[in-house]
Amino acid sequence: MNIFVFVKRVPDTESKIKIKRETKSVVEEGLSFILNPYDEFAVEEALRLREAQGGRVAVFCVGGEESLIVLRKCLAMGADEAVLIKDAAGETYDGLRTARILAKALQAKYPEFDLLLFGKQGMGADNGQVPSMTAELLGLPQANVVTKLQIEGSAGAAVREIEGGEETVAFSLPAVVSAQKGLNEPRYETLKGIMAAKKVQIPVVPVEDLGLSAAELAPGLEITGVDTPPERKAGRILTGAPEEAARELAQALRSEAKVL
């Protein structure tokens, strides 16, 4: 089975986010970047499928050369190959643009695949658009936010989270699947894997070489501002014995905050 996994380099979830109002952007200096945590589940699932059923795992990333580090991590985890689709645009918050790049790259250069795996969303932009959009552009079925995946021959079944429950999506390959936490427990890279990944020459495909028009590469969002959420005003500490504090809290929620 030929499995492609699509990954993204994102700021660490423990980062404090600073914004720059003048440039309408998030300040990247000082942030530490990681492989998008949801993508780790996707990579792990690909490796497990390969181990069980054979095949190859290739990992793709759209981004600048700084993204090579997350591709190396995927190689160290066990992926067979990695490809950087080099794009200098930075964060556009536009899922369609990324999906167009991926779809075009696959059609033009890597048309042989059975399964396309994604994380359910890129941490930070939090869009969760690219898996469904890529599926649509390539005419593939999709299963998003998946916590269980079964592939047998050319048939797949995925369990995905919905409000207050789950649903099973049955599909045929090739297909798009996006991973949610709970799908698996990602492995750590081995030292041997890390050393080997360092030596790999990762092919770089400039986004300009894919044959997309300027209009297709233009971001579809016109950013008008980046702001921080309003500060919450200082709260009130309820002192007193537990019973007393509980009573005061219940009363405050009803008569002061009016939320119960």
């Binding site: 423990e14 941490m123 658009q129 049955a170 016109e222 959420p229 504090a245 119960l260």
Partner: protein
């Protein structure tokens, strides 16, 4: 027209869809546009009345064999057909599990960008400005969409419901052209969680537990609290989930779910940045923690410094009393 995708389960419309419809109507009034509701599947005639009550002028009922079980592929195709005929200026979804699955598929099919999971819509100079949280709420991004039709999904539990008092409007029935053999993926089974428990993203009150809960067995205390309060759910911090105390679908925070209930109770949660990101848009936050220095108190509207095991039992009684009044 602003077209709103209406999600129904077993003939009943989801509240989140009605919220999206209500917000669409408010913005449409500013833009002088009509509202249409799109209901896909069969047996939804009765549901149409509610669509009118929440602001729609028209209800489109799209039927067809391919739409009987949910399929993103089939629904995107059926919606594309409707969009080509009705030519709406915008299409809104609620950012539910379904909306998040379907909206990007339709957007890509139409070749337009998507504003996902928006928490504020404003009309400026005749155009809609969308605002959505990024970094799970650590920052807010505002933007306009350059392409038409505009497609957006609206976060549940954020936009207030509207009641127009109307019960009727124009019902337009359409047979969708998409055929089952054109679809390679569909839902074959739906299972609800235990006792039809509400998801944290839908709950109006959330009782969340962290490390301070000390073990999986103590989450029963939060279940009991939740049992005493209607439309409530149990949440958890990442460390509680990673310790295996509770299933990950309860997790609130940057690697879990982003929630905005009326009240968020944090029991024994220290308040790591990634957790705060996921719940700081709650209307009221209550923190109960032994450590007076816990960062959660900085985010809380009400705090109790103390042993959560001593606070929960009397709190349960007080809440019960209050809700019986």
């Amino acid at each position: 027209m602003i077209l709103v995708y209406i999600e129904a389960r077993e003939g009943k419309i989801k509240k989140a869809s009605l919220e999206a419809l209500s917000e669409a109507r408010r913005r449409a009034d500013e833009l002088n546009l009509e509202i249409g509701g799109a209901l896909l599947g069969s047996g939804l005639e009765a549901a149409a009345a509610e669509v009118f009550a929440r602001g729609a002028h028209k209800a489109f009922l799209l039927e067809g064999e391919a739409l009987d079980a949910y399929s993103a592929q089939a629904e995107a195709a059926a919606l594309e057909e409707l969009v080509k005929d009705a030519r709406p200026e915008a299409v809104f979804f609620s950012a539910t599990a379904r909306g998040k699955d379907l909206a990007p598929r339709l957007a890509a099919r139409l070749g337009v960008s998507l504003a996902s999971d928006c928490t504020r819509l404003e009309v400026k100079d005749g155009r809609i400005e969308y605002t959505r949280p990024i970094f799970a709420g650590k920052a807010l991004l505002s933007f306009r969409l350059k392409s038409a039709p505009q497609i957006a999904s609206l976060r549940p539990n954020v936009f207030p419901l509207l009641d127009t008092g109307r019960k009727d409007g124009e019902v337009v029935k359409r047979a969708a052209a998409v055929r089952p053999d054109q679809v390679r993926g569909r839902v074959t089974e739906v299972r609800s969680g235990k006792g039809g428990a509400l998801d944290v993203t839908e709950a109006e009150v959330i009782f969340s537990g962290g490390r301070g809960m000390k073990g999986p067995e103590n989450f029963a205390l939060l279940e009991e609290l939740s049992g005493a309060v209607p439309r409530s759910a149990v949440g958890a911090s990442r460390s509680a989930v990673d310790s295996g105390w509770i299933d990950h679908h309860h997790q609130v925070g940057q690697t879990g779910k982003t929630v905005s209930p009326n009240v968020y109770f944090a029991f024994g949660i220290s308040g790591a940045i990634q957790h705060l990101a996921g719940m700081s848009s709650s209307k009221v936050i209550v923190a109960v923690n032994k450590d007076p220095e816990a960062p959660i108190f900085k985010a809380a509207d009400y705090g109790i410094v103390g042993d959560l095991f001593q606070v929960i039992p009397p709190l349960k009684e007080e809440l019960k009393k209050l809700l019986e009044e």
